[in-house]
């Protein structure tokens, strides 16, 4: 068990100041993330406004059932993270560990689903960039009919947005794995749990991004 004093950096007056500073820093980082994704949302909005019928048609090729599954999985992971912060504040570290591992599991499920979606698209010629050439018949849909102008743009935006989002999920998984080992080693206490709190914030933002990606790409 690490005592409170070793977790206080010399340039802070007290834990409260240190915790508040770390949290504001994290929120500012999240704001930069929002603006990073904003670029892609703007690109999406512009092309969708220009070619609504193409976007509507192209989105049929994305399986809304898989998208909805992933939405539920991510929402569940957000819930487990929120609970883990509740319990770390109460000092119930066993529950924290279980919840973080559950979060990790949800994230893994998300990535596995994403993997199957991607490979399915790749195998039918729906790729990022110039190689775009949809073909084959799945679920009664003739993919070659979707080879219309600006369908490539839809899928470019789809791959870039979900790709960068996926990278964020992978990074989150790495951090959760590291956090879990620290919880197991008893590093956190109700007095000091800043890394859990900050990672939680990051993870919720990843969830929020997906909350928007799901309807924009899969549904409408």
């Amino acid at each position: 068990m690490i005592s409170a004093d070793t977790t206080l950096k010399h340039y802070f007056v007290n834990h409260e100041q240190q915790f508040d500073a770390a949290k504001l820093g994290m929120w500012l980082f999240l704001v930069t993330e929002v603006l990073l994704f904003a670029g892609m949302f703007v690109a999406y909005a512009v092309y969708r406004a220009w070619h609504p019928e193409v976007f509507l048609q192209a989105s049929e090729l994305l399986d809304w059932r898989l998208g909805a599954l992933n939405t539920i999985v991510l929402l569940a992971s957000s819930f487990t993270v929120a609970l883990s912060i509740h319990f770390v504040q109460k000092g119930e570290n066993r529950k924290v560990l279980v919840l973080l591992l559950l979060t990790l599991l949800c994230a893994a499920i998300f990535m596995v689903v994403k993997y199957f979606e991607y490979t399915d698209k790749f195998s039918h010629g729906i790729v990022l960039g110039a190689g775009f050439d949809p073909h084959g018949i799945i679920d009664g849909k003739d993919y070659s009919k979707y080879n219309v102008p600006y369908a490539a743009q839809f899928f470019s935006i789809y791959f870039v947005m979900t790709g960068i989002h996926g990278v964020h999920v992978l990074v989150g998984m790495g951090i959760f794995g590291w956090l879990a080992t620290r919880v197991a080693r008893g590093h956190f206490s109700p007095q000091w749990y800043t890394p859990v709190e900050l990672t939680g914030l990051y993870w919720h933002l990843v969830d929020i991004i997906w909350i928007f990606l799901f309807p924009l790409l899969y549904l409408i």
């Binding site: 504001l24 500012l28 930069t32 929002v34 904003a38 110039a130 743009q153 870039v160």
Partner: protein
Amino acid sequence: MSDTSHNYLNAKKGLWSWLTTTDHKRIGILYAIACGAFFLLGGILATFVRTELGAPGETILGQDEYNQVFTLHGVVMVFLVIIPAIPGILGNFVLPLQVGANDVAFPRLNLASWYLFMAGALMAVCGWLFVGKVDTGWTFYTPYSSGASNAVLWLTSAVFVAGFASIFTGLNFIVTVHKMRAPGMTWNRLPLFTWAIYATAIVQVLATPVIGITMVLLFLEKLLHIGIFDPALGGDPVLFQHFFWFYSHPAVYIMILPAMGIISDLMGTFSRQHVSGYTFIALSSVAIAFLGFLVWGHHMFVSGQSALSSIIFSMLTFLIGIPTGIKVFNWVATMYKGSVWLKTPMLYALMFLFLFTIGGLTGIMVGVLAVDVHLHDTYFVVAHFHYVMMGGALIGLIGGLHYWWPKMTGRMYNEKAGVIAAILVFIGFNLTFFTQFFLGSKGMPRRYHDYSEFLETFPEFAALNMTSTIGSYILGVGLVMILIYALYSLVRGPRATANPWGACTLEWTHTETVPDEHNFHDTPLVTRGPYDYHLADDVFGPKKES
């Protein structure tokens, strides 16, 4: 430094201690060395550009080399010098001292930011040396950039990486200002330099991510042809310009706002009075930061964007004149009835006032829709932004470096040499760029390596260009002179006192001549404003001599 007390410079020894330091003051010095080197590189490239244009016809560069040289000049000066320099050097060194903190909020992130910056610079240079030359201009407009040499990939990655350095710096400063002020350091007691850096940091945090994603998309466009920006694939090149300028116009304020902060501090200290309109200057920094986000489209009046958006952007552009005017008038008012002390830093403050006003007012001119259609992509625009970027941002930086030099190094520079260099810089700068207003209003286009074809209609182009080139050499001599006496001062300069200017912000009144590794021996308790010169002089240290 053997006879001085324990301080941040001699607290730890060896190169390794510098490369692993988390001390904000040492990181400031690291930025100073790096930015200084890039400024030298950018300056040499500028000399090549001006030499080529000194006489009509091809002189020292062919047209391709000319394009490559001005591109590298632009990229180096914008991304590796002006954007990082003031926050990186002076922001890092001064801001925590001014708010009475022992360090920034996240010292390791601060060091990481320097390494990211260096990594970005390294990528730019490696791409240039080993992959190929880029001639897109610093703006990377599509479709030209998406079809250009693969070295564009290196430069865009470099900008992406260096962007994160900027974000980390800004994030650190915002949190430091919000959470780490000393007891009694209320918001309306913050020095105006800190206010300016704070406003800058907001822009850095909000705008820089967008250049990040833009560079990612450009990278993918070039590598995989995703068709977002490239018209040959159904993309929209004007959309790229929106993305690019959503960052790069606010970035202009990342460059100029900190310089305005320096000028505010200099005006107070060297007029020896309370800075006039303190609250207005402080809040106008914040106002400029926000308005700066609303005007990016004024770079695109002739790009084919809709007439509606051109009108909106033109009108919003004029709004920027209001907070900027507030600052200029208040600086002038600060000197009124003050005892103005014409030391080298103050000379640069006055120079800033003169040059920046010209740069700012010509900015209003090119913000006028109809006028811009004529002046777009001419030397008028080149002159305008050099008056703001060099005459504003860099002159502010040089003034700030002179002002804080004793604090950073513990030494004084030769005042006489400082004055002479300042005069050379002033004359050289105006010769170089004022002539370009004439060239531009006659229609001389930018980014041309030769103007002999225009001479039949405009014979005066030859003389004006020659004058501009001679001016640039004088400017160069002035800048090299600064470098020489600065280096001399490091070795032989007389030792400074703790507060040679009699300033009354915390970094002068509450630290040693060269600050201790942990800044303050005791946490300062602030009981007065940053420019309370009307209080007794002995509160703030020695009276000024002369």
